[in-house]
């Protein structure tokens, strides 16, 4: 079955339309807008569900000239991700109204959530590199808006900027990788498929060979890895994710655990069949396992429940990346299955964290405990989700972790990787021990005794319980019958991401094998070490706290501060508020680039100076030169302005002599207007002051350079013209009357032949007027204090104006 274009486009478009209509929803529904969101998300979900089982590409023309189209590729992997996004989206929208009760800025919140959901479905389905990139960056943008939701909070703004900087920056690496891919694809598959990812994946082997032949394989792999690694919070660029927890909790559950951060993983899975190989294994298995271990250790060091979950998310993303990194079929099974499992249990846990924060009023791990008495349903949900996160059998996280162990063990059978064949399984087990530890710690919030300091804990509203309950229920279903999930969707996802997919089987192990032993060791050591959790927690903090350079966040701060300082210094040097400084830099820059360009193009050599100047022209130009000298030497502004217009009018006369009446007329009226304007403001200009010799020398040198550049430019550009009149000139001259109906060729060219250019120039004039207006109107608007001050000023000006007005009369 091939997918239906209209349905696929509608599934992507519906959330965007809803984003545009959010103000309307909000006016009608107020805080209940979230429930409208549930409907929208379910609409997208059911549209996508109708495509279940279909596979193929559908396309809408977009920029045919560049072979860019809005292509959508539907297969099991795309559907799994898109259904997850819209399904969890629906739950998040249901959860939001109660959580966000009484907050301001809800229109922005919901609009961004809608736009995010549209873009994430877009990323999942898009098969065109440009479309993928656009949707990819749109998700970052939505994430920026949502992390920075609390605009008055500095840490939230800091986190939003950091997330933007890292993820959008990573997206740019991705774009470069895409462009390299498209260059190769255009050669191999024809220019029509230059950006068609689906076509590239169909010809995976040919693409991989071509990439290797051109030496682009490693660059492309690296660039895509940076793009995916930043988005999916891989070490060492994972630090934005814990900071992103400044966002409201539903956002954390949706964007920063279940969907957006998985885009990188999703994409790695998507290109896996094309780029898989030994390099792929080294890069992604190492990256993933490092991330998994480092972030699991950091999660144990966390003091805040959302921080714990954030590090844990990064750690699990590492697990998925590592899974896809292993080239065996088990690797792909790990990646696909854990993407589903993690979305179910982690979104539920975040929503639980939201309930705890909302009802208990604190997120400090140390201040919480014994919550099962107050939040019994939540405790049940947490039990399922946390044990699943820990990978305890028979919960669903166990199955995918078991697959990872299997893939890690198998790695050495597929490639000759020496010691790494032992190291990979060892690290996987080591990291997983910490996963067990922090999962149990999260669960222990609900057991034991209530701390005395904990205030009365309300029970959450039903709408906040439904969403995590649904997720936990799904997790429980997968736990009981994992083969069901495999048959429904995971198998089809596997077929898109594995090189040689077979029938996937999961279930509780019935006999001993190495992975089972690894799981047993993980759980046993985890349980045995749990009593020493506090000591471990303090130990890790003791190492990380005093030595900032091992934290990438510290490096980020140092780099950003450095860049800010450099930028400030640069701005102060170049833009110090003095017009003459601006002119110096801009003009010398232009001259340097223009001259360098002429030299590089070898245009300087071929300059010939023609001397077809009549006596009259020579005389006019001489007067112009004298006028120019007089401008420089004049002592007063009036003399300066008048001599300047002598120069201008001489140029107008020169145009007349050169038989260009229109040009001359324009020059005349503009010159007149400028003269009149000067006279209007001449009294306001401060008197000419003597300037230092050094400045004078600089100005003289600059003027000479500018003059020489202009001179050379004219010679080069007129020298490059063929002798006589060009085709276009002859065409204009011949067609002005029959086509344009006017004998003034210049005017016919302006309004008819090249009307579009003129329209552009009109826009420039209009923009100039608007910007000057804006500058002057906005000048008074600063913070409130300066506004108050300018009010005082206004009153004073009014007084003085009345007096001057009086004297005038």
């Amino acid at each position: 079955m091939s997918p239906d274009l209209a349905v696929v486009v509608a599934a992507v478009a519906v959330p965007f339309v809803a984003a545009a209509l959010t103000p309307l929803f909000f006016r009608v529904l107020g805080e209940e807008t979230g429930f409208a969101g549930t409907v929208v998300a379910l609409a997208s979900f059911s549209l996508l569900a109708t495509q279940y089982g279909s596979e193929g590409t559908v396309a809408l023309e977009w920029i045919p000239a560049l072979n860019v189209a809005l292509r959508f590729y539907v297969d099991g992997w795309a559907l799994l991700f898109a259904l997850l996004a819209s399904g969890i989206g629906a739950l998040i929208f249901t959860y939001s109204p109660a959580y966000m009760h009484g907050q301001s800025g809800l229109v922005r919140y919901y609009a961004a959530l809608f736009a995010f959901m549209g873009s994430i479905i877009g990323v999942a389905l898009a098969a065109d590199l440009i479309a993928i990139f656009l949707f990819w960056e749109l998700t970052s943008l939505a994430s920026f808006v949502l992390i920075g939701f609390y605009t008055a909070d500095d840490s939230s703004q800091y986190a939003a900027r950091m997330a933007m900087f890292i993820t959008v920056g990573g997206g740019l690496f991705l774009l470069v990788g895409f462009l390299m891919l498209s260059v190769v694809a255009a050669d191999i598959l024809g220019s029509g498929a230059a950006f068609d990812l689906a076509a590239m994946l169909e010809e995976s082997d040919a693409m991989a060979t071509a990439l290797r032949d051109r030496g682009l394989f490693l660059p492309v792999l690296g660039l895509l890895a940076i793009g995916a690694g930043t988005k999916s919070a891989q070490v060492p660029l994972h630090f934005w994710l814990p900071n992103a927890m400044a966002a409201p909790t539903p956002v954390s559950a949706f964007l920063h655990s279940a969907t957006m951060v998985k885009v990188g993983v999703y994409f790695i899975g998507r290109v896996r069949p094309m780029l898989v190989g030994p390099e792929w294994l080294f890069l992604f298995a190492t990256l993933g396992l490092t991330t998994m271990t480092v972030c699991a250790i950091m999660a144990v060091a966390a003091t805040d429940i959302k921080e714990l979950l954030a590090y844990s998310t990064a750690s699990h993303l590492g697990l998925m990346v590592a899974g896809f990194g292993f080239t065996s079929v088990y690797g792909a099974e790990t990646g696909v299955f854990h993407l589903l499992n993690h979305a179910l249990f982690k979104a539920a846990l975040f929503l639980v964290a939201g309930i705890i924060a909302h009802e208990a009023g604190t997120r400090e791990i140390n201040k919480l405990g014994g919550l099962r008495h107050d939040l019994p349903v939540t405790a049940a949900i947490t039990t399922v989700a946390a044990l699943s996160m820990a990978g305890i059998p028979p919960f669903n996280g166990f199955y995918s972790k078991e697959l990872l162990f299997e893939a890690a063990v198998e790695a050495s059978h597929y490639h000759d990787i020496g010691l790494l064949g032992w190291l990979y399984p060892a690290v996987a087990v080591f990291g997983s021990i910490f996963t067990v530890l922090y999962s149990l710690r999260f669960l222990s919030l609900f057991v034991g005794d209530r701390p005395e300091a904990l205030d009365y804990v309300q029970s959450p509203p039903v709408t906040m319980l439904v969403s995590p309950a649904v997720l936990a229920l799904l997790a429980a279903v997968v736990s009981v019958d994992p083969q069901l999930a495999v048959d429904v969707i995971v198998q089809s996802g596997l077929e898109a991401t594995a090189v040689d997919p077979g029938e996937m089987h999961v279930g509780l192990p019935t006999s001993y094998s190495t992975p089972v032993g690894m799981s047993a060791v993980t759980i046993a050591v985890g349980l045995a070490a749990f009593p020493f959790y506090d000591r471990l927690h303090d130990g890790i903090r003791g190492v990380v706290g005093p030595t900032p350079p091992i934290r990438p966040n510290w490096w980020y701060d140092v780099i950003i501060e450095g860049l800010t300082d450099e930028g400030r210094w640069f701005a102060e040097t170049l833009h110090n508020g003095l017009l003459r400084t601006y002119a110096t830099w801009v003009l010398s820059g232009i001259c340097a680039f223009a001259l360098a360009g002429f030299v590089a193009a070898g245009a300087i050599d071929s300059i010939g100076v023609g001397t077809e100047v009549t006596v009259a022209m020579g005389l006019v130009l001489l007067v112009a030169v004298v006028g120019a000298l007089a401008v420089v030497l004049s002592d007063t502004h009036v003399a300066g302005v008048l001599t300047l217009s002598i120069l201008g009018f001489m140029i107008a006369i020169f145009y007349i002599l050169g038989s260009a009446p229109d040009l001359a007329l324009t020059q005349l009226v503009v010159e007149t207007l400028v003269l009149v304007l000067f006279l209007l403001v001449i009294e306001e200009i401060p008197a000419i002051e003597r300037i230092a010799v050094g400045t004078t020398v600089r100005d003289v040198a600059l003027s000479l350079v500018v003059g020489v550049t202009a001179f050379i430019t004219v010679l080069v550009s007129s020298g490059a013209r063929p002798a006589g009149s060009t085709d276009i000139a002859r065409y204009f001259a011949a067609q002005a009357v029959p086509e344009g109906g006017g004998t003034n060729i210049v005017n016919v060219t302006l309004v008819d032949f090249r009307g579009f250019d003129t329209l552009g120039e009109l826009a420039v004039v209009a923009l100039a007027a608007i910007s000057i207006l804006t500058l002057i109107v906005m000048r008074g608007r600063g913070d409130e204090r300066s506004a108050a001050r300018s009010d005082d000023d206004a009153i004073e000006t009014r007084d003085t104006d009345t007096t001057t007005g009086g004297t005038d009369e």
């Binding site: 503009v670 209007l680 008819d752 009307g755 003085t800």
Partner: protein, 154 residues
């Protein structure tokens, strides 16, 4: 600059400048001139008025409106009118460009008709480009006058 000489001269030359500017605009299709040149010259006429009579003269002296001295110049009704002028001018230019689309022609296609037997002129050419050029004229006049009056008021 608001001297008697200036004012007297302005009274004499402003109408002439305005008439010349309009004729330059209208004749532009066949003789030197056009929307841009006409627009700049019209602006010059206004600039001379401002120079001779002060910035509030148009509001107070000609339109007979009261002016709040000292309030933001951008809120003056004349300035608002200038702003509208360049907005409308731009709209005229764009709409005149869109019109050919209705006849299945590309954006900004221009045409002309010769009217024969018109009184006085005998034969008169009407080019559709005049609408576009009028847009140019309006944008130039509106834009420059906005800048002039707002900056001049500083």
């Amino acid at each position: 600059m608001t001297t008697v000489i200036m004012r007297t001269t302005a009274r004499a030359i402003v109408p002439i400048v305005l008439v010349v500017s309009i004729s330059l605009f209208i004749e532009g299709h066949n003789l030197p001139g056009g929307g841009f040149i006409g627009g700049v010259l019209t602006t010059t006429a206004f600039a001379i008025i401002y120079m001779g009579f002060g910035l509030d003269f148009l509001e107070r002296g000609i339109l007979g409106r009261d002016v709040d001295p000292g309030k933001e110049p951008s809120r003056d009704r004349v300035v608002v009118a200038y702003r509208r002028l360049f907005a409308y001018g731009f709209a005229i230019a764009v709409v005149s460009g869109l019109a050919p689309l209705a006849f299945g022609q590309p954006f900004l296609t221009q045409t002309f008709v010769m009217l024969e037997g018109v009184p006085i002129y005998d034969h008169l050419e009407v080019a559709s480009a005049i609408a576009f050029d009028f847009g140019v004229y309006c944008v130039v006049v509106g834009g420059l006058l906005t800048i002039l009056s707002v900056v001049g008021a500083e």
